[in-house]
Structure formats: structure tokens, C-alpha cells
Symmetry: C2
Subunit: 436 residues, 2 copies
């Protein structure tokens, strides 16, 4: 005779059969019940326990409690200890977020190294409700209200339809032992206030509240998927991926009365915070930009250009020595001696090998750079003027590399060759330099 929990697990997740399952077990009520339930099901299980070292000796007490339980019940167990506070400090995270990062990255690592299939956690309906209310009190968007899903990626939460009361009842009926978390009474003031005062009041207003709430969350999850659908469809109409960059067509975008919602949806994951500055960018003059830690959003005429901030400083130089055939970093260049001469637009140049002086230098362009553009009868021109004529955007300009021979520009790479190194009637050896 299986319990309603076990019937739920086998019917809702039939694909678990024959799979290897990790159970995330803290030692508290919920995870000890999950462990007990799974012990009676025909799955191959192992326990994962993280010691976050946040409650001193008590944390180690939890660890040995679970270790003993697993030893007695012959369940394989993996444990680890984290210096959670130090990690949180290093990465400027809240303790809670740090613990989650550490936990899940360890979980996923073990899935790979131990060749397991899924991780089961003991989250239940009241967890989702409490998180909903916490986010609500702080102000949140749809994503703060939809709750943790029963199943995503390789994490499964089989107790999510059940309330804390139901889990407690099972624990008592089956004489399950667990460790009480002392922070329940102190640290977690907010969650406890919600658990002990607010939620009972909601359940008093509607005794069936938890069910109604689960319906609400599933409707909100549906809405969230539709928001993502809209975001993708509009993105396809408005955005163009150009190399590592994304170009957003402002003429198209501004047709939408709610274009700010879409910008937020698209740019959120790139670490931007100054949303009002971003919204202002839409109507600002060309050349203005907003930065996140790793990305830049640039207004360029009728386009917003999102691009990763280059990690190569503008001062760096790279040498190319005689006989080098392939340069792979920072650009892929190929140099070779050739007979047949056909210029492949901006991808390759042919130069008189005897005019070249090695090592060639590969560097970013500078404001003062001057060269003799091919086809201009030896007249010189500022590189910056060339860019202006070619109508390059700030981002495009920053990406341009210069190839030099003895301080003279040989090639504004991808744009224009220098007249001085071109092949002539007198040329004996030709060097082809090709951008790949």
C-alpha cells in the first residue's frame, strides 16, 4: 500500500523508473519525509547533504544525523562543506542566494561525475506560498509570483502539491525523526511571521486556500510562458544578431506602445540596472551608451547595439614574425606566398613581400593613425576620417584592427589596404594576408 505521496510520484513522474536519483536532504522534516517515501519505491537513490556551516556545531550535528541514518539504512550518501559566508562576501550575494548557488552547482557537478539522472528536492506547497508572499511584500514581477516548478531541467520536486500539514502528518504516522532548524525560530523571522500569522489568516478566509493558490500559480505560469512567447516573437521582428552583437531596430521597436517592457525582457539577463537610462537611450542622440559590468548598449542612429565589452585593452599589440602562417589571436589571419592574385573584397590583401618588415604588429587603431589608402594616388588620410566616410558606428570602430609594418599601416583590416605596400610591376614576392 503506497501513500498518496508515493502514488503521486509514480503517476506524475513515470519516467523516473530505472533512473538514478539524488535526494537533497537537509535533515529537516520535509527532506526526511521525502527520503522515507523514496526508500520504499523501487528507485536507485543516493542522498546529497550540504553543510553550509551557517549554524556552527548544529550544522555538523545535522550532517552526522543524516550520515548515521544513511549508514543504518544502507543508503549511499555524498556530503560536502561550504564556507558560505566567505563565498557570499566574495561574490556580494545574500547568504541565502550564496547557499543556493553553492548547493545547485555541487548538485549538477555530481550528476555528471556520478552519472545520476535527477535530483529530487522536498519543496512543498507552503514553500511556494511563503516565497510568493515574501516577494509580494518586497514588490515583484510575474516571475516572483509564479513559484518553483514541479519539474525543471533535472530537478524534480515531488512534494510540491502537498502542504506542510500533510507532510507532518505522514512523519508522525511513520515515526520519522528529523532535526529542527534553530534558525526557524530566530533568523527566519520573516518566513515565520508569514508561516505562523499570515498564512493561517488566509486559510481562515478560505479553508481551501492552498488549492486556490496552486491554481493561481499555474495560471500565472501559463501567463509567464505567453510573455516569453511575445518576447521571442517581437525579438524576431526587431532584433538582428550581427557577430557577437545584437542590433535592435528602433523604428520597428518604437511602433510598440509597450516597447519598454520588451527592452526589459531582452536586456535583463545582461546585467543592466539603469533601466531609466536605457529607456532614455531610445530617444537620445547617436553615440550615447549605457554599460553593465560586461555589456554595452549603444545608440547608433536608428539602432540600439548590444555588445560584449571587449576584454582586450586598446593598448595591446600582437607581433607577427616572418614565416608565421597562421595568427589565431586576437584575430584569425593567414599569411602565405601566392601566385594567383584575386582580391576577395575586404577579407584579404596582397602586398609586396619585400616592402614588409617583420615582425608585423597587430594592434587597435589610434586617434592619430594616418595611412595612404589604396587607390588614392599615395595621398594620406586619417584613419578616423576613413571611418567617418564609411559611417562606422562607435562599436564597429572599436573592433577595427590595424596591421603595421615598421610603424606604417599596411592594412586597416577588413576596410582598406595601404597604397605603399601594394604589389607593382617590380614585385618579386607576393604575400597574401587573409582574414578568416
Amino acid at each position: 500500500m503506497f501513500s498518496k505521496f508515493q502514488n503521486h510520484i509514480t503517476s506524475r513522474f513515470p519516467f523516473l523508473e530505472d533512473k538514478k536519483l539524488f535526494l537533497a536532504v537537509s535533515g529537516g522534516l520535509d527532506s526526511m519525509v521525502l527520503l522515507h517515501l523514496l526508500q520504499q519505491l523501487p528507485y536507485e537513490i543516493a542522498v546529497l547533504h550540504c553543510n553550509f556551516q551557517l549554524r556552527g556545531l548544529e550544522s555538523f550535528g545535522d550532517q552526522s544525523f543524516i550520515q548515521n541514518y544513511c549508514d543504518q539504512n544502507e543508503i549511499p550518501i555524498f556530503t560536502t562543506q561550504f564556507d558560505t559566508e566567505a563565498f557570499a562576501k566574495d561574490y556580494k550575494l545574500s547568504t541565502q542566494v550564496a547557499a543556493r548557488e553553492l548547493r545547485y552547482s555541487w548538485f549538477y557537478e555530481l550528476l555528471e561525475t556520478e552519472n545520476f539522472d535527477y535530483i529530487l528536492t522536498a519543496h512543498h506547497a507552503d514553500d511556494n506560498l511563503e516565497t510568493f508572499i515574501i516577494n509580494l511584500t518586497r514588490g515583484t514581477g510575474l516571475d516572483g509570483l509564479i513559484g518553483i516548478p514541479e519539474e525543471n531541467d533535472r530537478i524534480i520536486r515531488p512534494l510540491l502539491p502537498f502542504s506542510r500539514d500533510e507532510i507532518m502528518e505522514y512523519a508522525q504516522e511513520n515515526n520519522i525523526e528529523w532535526r529542527e532548524d534553530s534558525s526557524n525560530a530566530s533568523n527566519k523571522y520573516l518566513r515565520n511571521k508569514i508561516r505562523h500569522d499570515l498564512v493561517p489568516m488566509l486559510k481562515e478566509i478560505n479553508p481551501n486556500f492552498l488549492n486556490a493558490f496552486q491554481k493561481t500559480q499555474s495560471y500565472l505560469q501559463e501567463s509567464q510562458v505567453m510573455v516569453e512567447d511575445a518576447s521571442i516573437m517581437i525579438y524576431q521582428q526587431v532584433a538582428k544578431e550581427v557577430g557577437d552583437d545584437i542590433h535592435f531596430d528602433l523604428n520597428q521597436l518604437k511602433k510598440l506602445p509597450n516597447y519598454k517592457s520588451y527592452l526589459y525582457q531582452w536586456l535583463n539577463e545582461f546585467g543592466f540596472l539603469a533601466w531609466n537610462d536605457i529607456y532614455d537611450l531610445v530617444d537620445s542622440q547617436s553615440g550615447k551608451q549605457v554599460l553593465s559590468a560586461e555589456f554595452r548598449l549603444l545608440k547608433n542612429r536608428d539602432t540600439l547595439i548590444l555588445s560584449p565589452i571587449s576584454e582586450i585593452s586598446e593598448k595591446e599589440e600582437f607581433e607577427i614574425h616572418e614565416g608565421d602562417q597562421d595568427v589565431n589571436f586576437p584575430l584569425k589571419l593567414r599569411l602565405c606566398q601566392v601566385g594567383d592574385i584575386t582580391i576577395d573584397s575586404n577579407k584579404a590583401i596582397f602586398v609586396d613581400a619585400e616592402k614588409i618588415q617583420f615582425p608585423l604588429i597587430l594592434r587597435k587603431w589610434n586617434e592619430g593613425d594616418v595611412f595612404h589608402p589604396f587607390g588614392m594616388q599615395g595621398k594620406s588620410k586619417k584613419v578616423s576620417k576613413l571611418f567617418k566616410d564609411e559611417k562606422l558606428s562607435l562599436i564597429e570602430k572599436e573592433k577595427i584592427w590595424i596591421l603595421c609594418s615598421d610603424n606604417q599601416i599596411v592594412w586597416v583590416i577588413g576596410i582598406r589596404q595601404d597604397e605603399r605596400f601594394k604589389i607593382e610591376n617590380t614585385t618579386n614576392r607576393i604575400l597574401k594576408i587573409e582574414l578568416q
Copy 2:
């Protein structure tokens, strides 16, 4: 010196200048404050008061309170009385919904007849919060959480950013009198429980709760607009409007993992309730259907067809008399004598006028109908067989009309003419019957 309320009104709604404004005034705290605020602004105002007759003498007390106030302050006032309970009973509505229906339809009527521009109501931030919580306790979707907007159509709610406490403070500072609604203490148990117990607890958790909540609602409103965007974009890909019907292409629709969300979004407004039956329809056999009070959703091969349920019974007949030139109901037909004979596909037939016996009868087809299809050398055929050969859907079949002369079918309208009435060498007078 204007109050913060008045500053908000003039800056948030600058377009109100020179407009004629109705104020919806119940006589309670919120609306008496709104009235007081608007009296000091340079707008042309008039008061609207509905007596819903839900609290006996007290309701009339409210009415005369406002009447006196307006008389003393020389403010034009319009009042009306509703038998709300009777209306609710007739239309099977809750008292609350009935009152809202009555109120807003009267408001909109007066906007037209009195030539006013906007209606201002006194909803405030706590109203939105209380509604949010009520809907949450019952289970709801995104639309139940987004709240009433500050401005929609011709209704403006200028107090929405402010809390009940702020409004109370203004009332006390300005010695404003109002009528206490006795139902506050009795009928409205739920709203009061939320107001007096639950909301204070949320404000205790975060003293800035109401602000955070307003942010939440504005994020949710943005999400709701994006849900509508997605709904419209997918509709354009999947749906085709054919006359009064909408055809949903199931092959397209089923490519979406969340197609049920979209069906709900599209069909919700047509009064359907049996959602599981509708979702089942997608994979059911051709010919199955789900009905709402006024609409039918039919599975027809790879299509779901939404159509209004016809109001014309299948028994009804319509007569056409000799000399009639135009028939306008239930179809538009034109009859005329012609010389030039060209058959315009299925839109018109030419018959030998002397073979016709008036009155012609226009009726829906019956299961037993038999006729002699044009071009089949006088062989007879069941009309139902013709429909089958033409692969008509159930809905298309139900829309077919039959034109008869002396119990003989002259035309299965729009589909096939009868051989017996066709024009021949011997024809003297031709009658053209044209579908318009």
C-alpha cells in the same frame, strides 16, 4: 496652495483642463474627499449618485446627504435609483456585479446625453490591494491580480496612488463630512477582515508595503499587455475570419506546446465554460462540438470553427411573391427579368420564369430533401448527398438555404441549381435570382 492630491491630478491628467467631469459620489469618505478636492480645481464638475436600494432607509439617507451638499455648494447633481436585487436575480449576477453593471451603464449613458467628457471615481490604493487579496484567496489569473487602472476609456481614478490613511488625513484636516456605510461592519465581512487584520500585518512586515505593491501591480499590468500581444500575434498566425465564423488551424495551433493557454485567451469572451471539453476537442473526431449560450465550437477535420448559434429555427419559411425584386431577410436575394445570360458561379441562377410558381419559399434544408441537380440529365439526388460530396462542414450545412417552387427545389442556394427550372430553347421569359 494645492494639496499633493490636487498636484497629482493636475500633473498626471493635464488633459482634464477645460473638460466636463462627472464625479461618482456614494457619500462615503473616499468620494466626499474626491468631491472636495475637485471643488477647488478649475474644472466643470457634476455629481452622479446611484441609490442601489440595498440598505433601505440608509440608502435614501445617503442620497439626501449628497443632494443637500450639492445644493449648498451649487454643484449640479444627477441621481437615480436601481432595484439592484431584482436586476441581479433576473440576470443571475451577484449583487456586487449587478450594482457595477447598473452603475457603469448609467454613467456611460449620461456621458452621452449630458455631453460630459470623463467620469472620476474615488478608488484608492487599498481598494486595489483588497481586491488583489480577495481574488488571491479565491484563486485567480493574472487579470485578477493587476488591479483597476488609473485611467481606462473614459473613467479616471485620480486617488489610486493614495492610501486610505492619506485620504482620511485629508478629510480630518479639512473637516469633511461623510456617511459611514453600515455594511462596512456587517455584509462586507471578507473585505473588512482583509482591511483590518491582513493588510496591517503586511504593512508590519514592510512599512513601505503599499508602494511595493503598486510596483508589483504595474509590473503585472505590463506582463498582461505582453500576454495580449502574444495572444494577438498567435491569433494572426492561426485564425482566419470567414464571414461570422472564425476558423482555427489546428495543425498550426498544435505546434505550440501551450496552445491551451491561447485557446482560453481567445474563447474566454464567448462565454464558454467547459474548458476541458474544448481542449479535448483539439484531438477529437470531426463533427464533435462544444456549446456556450450563444456560440458553438466545432471540430471539423483540421479546424476548430467558432460560430454564433443561429437564431433562425430550421422550421421557419419565408415567402417570395411575384414581382418581388429584393428579398433582404434572411438572405439578400435579387430577382429580375433579364436578357443577357451569364452564370456568375454560385451567386446567381437563371430560371425559366414560366416554370416558376409563386410564392417561392425560402427555407432551411431538411434531411429528406431531394432535387435534380443541374447537369445530371434529370437524375435526382439527396441534398444531404450533395453536401457530403461537396465536403461541407456541419456549420456550413446548417447555413444552407433552399429556394422552392411548389415544393420543388429550384436552388440549393450558393451550391447548385435544379435541372427542372433551367432555361431552354423554348424559354420565353427568364428570371435571374441573385444572391447578394
